[in-house]
Amino acid sequence: MTTVLVVEDEADLRFLARMTLDRAGFDVIEAGTGADAVAVLESSDTADVDVVMLDLRIPPPDGWEVLAWIHETGLNTRMRVVIVSAFVDPGTAARAASMGCRYLAKPFRGDDLVALIRGDDLPGT
């Protein structure tokens, strides 16, 4: 079973992601801040996170800093990161790609989220 760590500070959106991913058959772990996300990833019990769904504007460390930490620790070699953000400028998408991440803009369709978490291409692309 694929385990997804949902990093999102907005409670409603965290709940939305859990509902959507639950129904698609993923295990979901939630983190409301960057610090919570790092704590989850550091803990050996939950070292089997397969995918991180990462919001960018979160209480510190922010999404980019969490991503940098994932690269520093080498965790990126055994998990994928999907950035889901309301920052929709081209620079954000390009930066995500340069860090080896998929990128999904808010608001998103549930199907698109599930596809990217699975590692598929977006439907129709």
Binding site: D9, E10, R23, F87, A105, R109
Partner: protein, 526 residues
Amino acid sequence: MDRDPRFDRTADGRGSDGYLRAIVETSTDAIYRVDLDGRITGWSPAAERLFSYRATEVEGTPSAQLFADEHLDAYEVVIRQAVVGALTTHTHTDIRPRSGPSVPVALAVAAIHDEDRGVVGASVIVRDLTEQREALATLAASETRLRESEALAHVGGWVLDVGTGTVQWSEELHRMHGIDPVDFQGSLEGHLALVHPDDRAGLESAIAMAVDGHGVVDAEYRVVRPDGKLRWLYTRAERAFAAPSVAPGVPLPAHSDGTRAVIGLRGICQDVSERHDAEQAVRDAYERERAAAEGLRAADRLKDEFLATVSHELRTPLTAIMGFAQLIGTGIDRASLPDMVTRIQRNAVEMHGMVERVLDFSRLQAGNVDLRLQTINLHQLVAKTVEGYRAALDEHHIDVSLAEDDTEVLADVDATMHIIGNLLSNAVKFSPAREPITVSTARDRDAGRVTVVDRGPGIPAELKEAVFERFFQGPNQPPGRRGTGVGLAIVRRYAELQGGRAWCETPEGGGTAVMFTLPLARKGGR
């Protein structure tokens, strides 16, 4: 030329006549002789040239004819004084030559003695003063021109004598300093005393260095006129040297350039106040322009940031609304339905508030606000507005401690509801979940007051004004909802447009109290 034989005789009868004849004939001054009746008895070659009469034409005629009528009296007086008093007399007068205009002359009249007969006549020496007069007139004219040029160019001259420490000014320099010539001390100290205190030391050292080393003063400085007005002067001066060079081996004076003694400085001075004022005006204008451009750029940056923030903030509730609606559409168990609907409602309310804020802000920015002031029961309006928010803000308990009063204010209903809505939205955003939010109304001396208190992190004292500026985002933003940064700016603007004000305080027990006032309606309503 015929010689007057009477010149050949010596008046003193001693026979040394050759010497006198030589003098008379070669003198460039005209010389003639008169008898006791004033008739001409001798006439020198220079007299022929000056008066344009030959000796034969004037001999025996009255010498008075040589003078213009208006000078006759004076002429006769000097002749009489010389003859009667046996004196040599002098006067300045004008002669009348045969042709041409009258000629200014100096006369020297001396009595002629005869051993036997006493005074027998007088000799008259006539010196033509035309050239001297012209030279004086030319000098006077050139001095006038110099003064006029100095005045026109606002340039004056000055001279410093290092030996005595005296300073001489030209007329224009007195004018520049606004000082009457009699009031200037004529010393270097006096010169420097008029310089602005901030510039005095600089000019003094520039002068000292010029005398001893650099050789040139090139300075701009301010002087303070007696009337207190400041003028900017530019001066340039060079060393003046004593004419002869010092012989080798002779010790040089205190000031020298190695071979010549420096006797002082000679300089010009120009009033450059207008140029300075113009330059300052240009600098000021440039600075204003730069500040305005910087202000525009800053406003532009803020606008861009505002648009990006609004875009970002609208996407968050929109994601929730679309996401939950999609979940419901794909079929969920009935038990979850009410919860999802509540979430959609909550996000819709939030989004609506945000859209209202952006529109309010846009209207206020454009000055496009049409307020309809009417008499309103403050308590009722606040209660109604809070009720509208209560459903969407279920995590918070809104404690409305509304004294049941009949305070009536003169206000616009929509604007006041927007104020309260913004304050509630802020309070919800900053208050921890389930902490109470307190709304109260009160009546001040001349205004109705609404206070909204939250139990959030509070506002640092130094930011209590800044939070009312547009686009301001405080340091204690809670996770999730960040807002657009215009809420409190709208609150204050709406309050002020209605004749009230808005501010914030720190209540006892922490958190933030934001209050606004509205003017009381007059008794009996409108």
